[in-house]
């Protein structure tokens, strides 16, 4: 019994690690104040769900296609908000989230709206169907390690250093002849790609998606994780994902009804977010301040 629960928790943690590290790429390393990350997560989830239900393409192809499709949105969001700075940028990206959420909710011919889409098939790779939760955990772990590895080497490369330079002083980078806009949209598109594949992993694990999985509450959770871990640190984001997702699990031992459990989770996340901003703005291992 306990193993089932642990495996479930580990799968969710794996998915959120991909989500948190990819947000940190945009928010922490490149300094793009993106509050619309959950929209990417949702787009990835919906695209792969719709493709795997309506077509017979192989899963791995769908997996990559969903990620790439999401990264197009990352590019578009960057193009649209390039002129905005500071809180106006935060507001616009938050708005992007609401617009995508409304689309999920109201484009009923495609997404079935609030009813959600049930019976999403489990992935099959080269004829091997990932049926049990344990094998799904292994699959998530592999994807998670590959994503972190990719981000780690990307951020250590000269390219990654340059991204951080853009965050610290964009004007100087421009003076040095760097095409900062191109790098910014590339960073945003990469960040969106990983959020998209995290969405794919989520959809095919839960096998049911509805718009409420991609609401404002999820933004708070993912922001809390990234800020607790600290900006511009992959290690921090990974550790914070584990901590933040485990803390509310303690509440389970009190056998509370779900009508209390749900709001209690959100209250805990919101409180952690506010307190970390007030008392430890750099988080656990953060290198830079937000904004």
């Amino acid at each position: 019994m306990i193993e089932v629960y642990l495996i479930h928790l580990l799968i969710i943690i794996g998915i959120y690690i991909i989500l948190a590290t990819s947000l940190n790429l945009a928010l922490g390393y490149t300094g793009l104040l993106n509050l619309g990350h959950i929209a990417f997560f949702g787009i990835g989830a919906y695209v792969s769900t719709l493709l795997s239900i309506n077509t017979s393409l192989p899963f791995l192809l769908i997996f990559i296609m969903a990620g790439l499709f999401t990264s197009i949105f990352g590019y578009l969001l960057m193009v649209a908000t390039n002129k905005l700075k500071g809180d106006y940028l935060a507001l616009a990206t938050l708005g992007f989230n609401f617009v995508i959420y409304s689309l999920f909710l109201n484009w009923t011919s495609l997404t079935r709206g609030p009813l959600g889409i049930p019976d999403i098939p489990k992935p099959s790779i080269f004829g091997l169907i990932i049926q049990s939760n344990l094998s799904y955990l292994i699959f998530v772990a592999i994807v998670c390690c590959l994503s972190i590895g990719f981000l780690y080497f990307l951020l250590k490369s000269p390219y990654g250093i340059l991204l951080q330079a853009i965050r610290d002083n964009e004007l100087t980078c421009k003076v040095l002849g760097k095409n900062t806009f191109k790098m910014k949209w590339q960073a945003m598109a990469t960040s969106a790609f990983f959020a998209g594949i995290a969405g794919v992993l989520y959809a095919h694990y839960i096998t049911f998606i509805d718009p409420s999985s991609f609401s404002l509450y999820e933004i708070i959770l993912i922001l809390t994780i990234v800020l607790v871990g600290g900006l511009a640190t992959l290690k921090g984001s990974i550790l914070a994902t584990v901590i933040i997702l485990i803390i509310p699990e303690i509440l389970r031992f009190f056998a509370l009804p779900s009508s209390i459990l749900g709001p209690a989770h959100q209250i805990i996340y919101a409180l952690i977010l506010i307190l970390i901003l007030m008392y430890r703005p750099k988080g656990l291992f953060g290198k830079v301040d937000l904004g």
Binding site: A80, A264, Q266, A270, L271, L277, G291
Partner: protein, 295 residues
């Protein structure tokens, strides 16, 4: 005539947005950050009037007065506990925005925890059959809401333009540093704007509670409308945010002529987005340069 009905609906929606927007804009003008949690206080106020009037059974006017007073106090409290310490550390506006989104979620879920997820209704004025005005239908309550809003907005406008306090507040909004130099304690007026702004959220909460059912998550929708109205109207200008709110109410209601009503929030955001990109100062916000300097 559907046009008249949409026009009426737009004006009613606009009135409520305007009440949310002026409080928001008053706070924004003196503090210069986006107080997203403002919508949360509208929700809290709606629940307060439900608590005092429907559950406890106090007289309606006493309940309303209590609600507004408590809302004002909560505004003071939240500034004292959260925003003042953050501002002291000179954090960026984005941090304040994120903190206030956190606060909004906190307030919504507190209401959810205390009052439960099912919708509540205050039931002070029974919904009667609407009155027909020029081929459209409007209820008595809605007429009261529109008139009350207009009166309140006029009082607020008069207060800001003519009274000494209002003038000082505008001075602080205009240039906090300069106000400090001539001996105005700008910090005190940040508190004051939070008290008045949140008390206005209290009024908005009461009217919303009378007009529609109360649910814990309604604050998010309201603040989206409120700040969209404020920003497209020119956020530092109170008349601007009133104008913007009515404009939003109309655009939204005419928008659902073509789109399902679920897209209301999306329409607001698209409108906001267009303004942020092409006219970030809003319709009446003339101090474009000033805004850029603050960023």
């Amino acid at each position: 005539m559907i046009v008249v009905q949409l026009l009426i609906n737009g004006i009613i929606a606009g009135s409520i947005y305007a009440l949310v927007a002026v409080g928001f804009s008053l706070i924004y003008a003196t503090n210069r950050f986006i107080h997203f949690a403002h919508g949360g206080f509208v929700t809290v106020s709606a629940y307060l009037i439900y608590l005092f009037f429907t559950l406890v059974g106090l007289n309606f006017y006493i309940s309303a007065l209590l609600t507004i007073l408590i809302a004002g106090f909560l505004g003071w409290l939240v500034y004292k506990l959260v925003y003042a310490p953050l501002k002291k550390r000179k954090v960026s506006n984005a941090v304040l925005l994120i903190a206030s989104v956190g606060l909004l979620i906190l307030l919504e879920n507190l209401m959810l925890l205390i009052f439960g997820a099912d919708v509540k209704s205050v039931g002070y004025i029974q919904i009667r059959k609407g009155i027909e005005v020029f081929w459209g239908i409007i209820t008595l309550l809605q007429i009261v809401i529109v008139i009350l809003t207009v009166i309140l907005l006029l009082i607020l406008w008069f207060f800001m333009k003519k009274s000494r306090l209002g003038k000082i507040m505008r001075a602080v909004a205009d240039n906090a540093e300069l106000a400090n130099i001539i001996g105005i304690d700008a910090n005190k007026f940040c508190y004051l704007s939070f008290i008045i702004g949140t008390a206005l959220a209290g009024v908005a909460g009461i009217l919303v509670a009378l007009e529609q059912n109360i649910e814990p998550v309604m604050g998010t929708g309201l603040i989206i409308k409120g700040f969209t109205g404020a920003i497209i109207g020119g956020v530092v200008s109170v008349p601007g945010s009133i104008l913007g709110s009515y404009l939003l109410g109309l655009v939204e209601n005419f928008g659902i002529w073509f789109l399902p009503s679920g897209y209301k929030d999306a329409i607001a955001f698209v409108l906001l987005f267009v303004f942020l990109l092409f006219k970030p100062t809003g319709i009446l916000g003339l101090r474009g340069k000033d805004r850029e300097q603050k960023l």
